[in-house]
């Protein structure tokens, strides 16, 4: 099992519903977020192209955050989901430094927090909160090892990219372009 997400940058309208859904679902403290939407504008008017990306932890296969954690608080769960065990985390900040995506932050309670792919929902067979609320259905979540899954299908038929693959982290969030 290898959970991953594919996000269609051509369908995303940048409404930030995914961000709000995540904050509500996971009780993210005010002023913080586990996912965010970035807009890259390329070119000058009138030849402009815009790419909207809903970004979050990439649940990398080769996670620098798991490697550098001195206590083992950052770890892999089933399906390659990267999680932080709160009462093992000492808040040293090494994982925040090690993440090329700046997807982790220091929770006001002290431990490090990040996207969990809504593992509590996924275990019940539901989709992550961000995916389930997306009004344009631009996000696909599923198991890369299941040949019949929606995500495998969409990645087969569309061109896609990952963020900063040169960092060697083997990110598992794919952006359909």
């Amino acid at each position: 099992m290898r959970y991953a997400m594919a996000i269609d940058t051509r369908k995303c309208v940048g409404c930030s519903d995914c961000v709000v859904a995540c904050q509500t679902e996971n009780n993210v403290p005010i002023g913080f977020c586990r996912d965010w939407v970035s807009e890259t504008v390329d070119g000058t008017y009138p030849n402009v192209s815009i790419e909207l990306r809903s970004e979050r932890c990439n649940h990398c296969d080769n996670s620098p955050c798991v490697r550098c954690c001195p206590t083992g608080a950052s770890h892999f769960e089933d399906g390659g989901i990267v999680l932080v065990t709160h009462n093992k985390c000492i808040g040293c900040g090494a994982c925040i430094e090690s993440c090329p995506y700046e997807a982790r932050y220091s929770h006001p309670d002290g431990y490090v927090d990040k996207c969990t792919f809504c593992i509590h929902r996924v275990r019940k067979g539901e989709k992550p909160a961000c995916v389930s609320v997306c009004p344009t259905s631009c996000m696909y979540f599923g198991d890369l090892e299941d040949p019949n899954s929606e995500i495998v299908n969409v990645l087969k038929n569309r061109k896609f990219k990952a963020l900063a693959p040169e960092a060697g982290t083997k990110p598992q969030i794919f952006y359909l372009v």
């Binding site: 939407v37 909207l52 490697r67 608080a73 040293c92 220091s106």
Partner: protein
């Protein structure tokens, strides 16, 4: 033209707009670690060479600073933690992949060694010192008999500690300025140099100061070579590494780096040490203080500058 912005709004403290998770505590921790490594390495080496008599400050007096430096350093690491009450988790896990983890263990070994080393000399400073318990006298006698054997692991661990202060940063692939293998040797040499400066400050023997000054001069030259090498390596690297080098070559850290680290922290004390060695009378305190100051500023700059370098996508 390419422009990127967060349309969902994102202003997480210490992450946006620039990463700033490690504050002043980490540079001080790295500085004290390097300083301790430098002193213990030289103390170990001169003990192995059998020069305790000729080099009293190196072997006996400067190591008294080390337990304090290491304990304050560890306290700085503790201050940096955001989930402080769980700090003990560091010592219930051994994770060799994590530099922070094995560094904490190296310090756990180094601190008792440095305390034992200094304790074995304490009765030379305070002849009336009373150990109170007989077993402590027995242990002291054992340490004094076996100093030569203790000096070996002490010198080796000192090198590991010195290199660790650099590897703690260089292990982070995500921060291009840190992600260079030269950082380990560079921080080691810089630590040796600050350790030597401490010994020079504490030494009363002209000959000892002369020997350590010459050694320090060598450390400074090697450090300058490593810094040049590091910047050359970045300039020959990928875009993110070129951007990292440019922080020092015209970017926002150019002035503090060249003025405080290169000129005042390395070249100026090196010139004074050369003048001293060729016979001019110099107040030895000046180059030593500048080296310590330069070493501290160097770590502050590396920690601050490294955090703002990142991958582009």
């Amino acid at each position: 033209m390419k422009e990127e912005l967060f349309v969902s709004g994102r202003n997480i403290p210490n992450i946006d707009p620039y990463l700033h998770i490690w504050h002043w505590q980490i540079p001080i921790y790295l500085f004290l670690g390097g300083l301790a490594a430098g002193i213990l390495f030289l103390a170990g080496v001169y003990t192995i060479l059998g020069k305790e008599k000729e080099m009293p400050a190196t072997v006996k007096w400067a190591p008294f600073l080390v337990p304090f430096a290491l304990i304050i350093g560890l306290f700085m690491l503790f201050l940096d933690l955001k989930h402080k009450m769980y700090f003990w988790q560091l010592y219930t896990t051994i994770r060799l992949e994590s530099p922070m983890g094995w560094g904490a263990w190296v310090l756990m070994i180094m601190t008792p060694i440095s305390i034992i080393w200094s304790a074995s000399y304490i009765r030379e400073v305070f002849p009336n010192w009373d150990w109170k318990f007989k077993f402590l006298y027995t242990f002291e006698a054992w340490v004094i008999r076996n100093r030569w054997y203790i000096a070996w692991p002490m010198a080796i661990y000192a090198v590991i500690l010195g290199i660790y202060t650099g590897i703690l940063l260089s292990a982070f692939n995500a921060r291009p300025l840190w992600n260079t293998t030269i950082l380990g040797p560079l921080f080691l040499v810089s630590g040796m140099s600050t350790g030597a400066a401490c010994i020079i400050l504490m030494s009363k023997s002209h000959e000892e100061r002369r020997i350590i000054s010459r050694l320090d001069l060598l450390f400074i030259v090697v450090e300058l070579f490593f810094i040049t090498h590091m910047i050359m390596g970045f300039l020959a690297g990928s875009e993110v590494q070129i951007n990292a080098a440019n922080l020092f070559l015209g970017g926002q850290f150019t002035v503090p780096f060249f003025v405080f680290v290169i000129l005042l922290g390395l070249i100026f004390p090196a010139i004074l040490e050369v003048l001293e060695l060729i016979g001019y009378k110099m107040p030895i305190i000046i180059p030593a203080v500048f080296i310590l100051f330069g070493g501290l500023i160097f770590r502050f700059i590396m920690v601050e500058a490294g955090q703002i370098t990142r991958y582009l996508y």
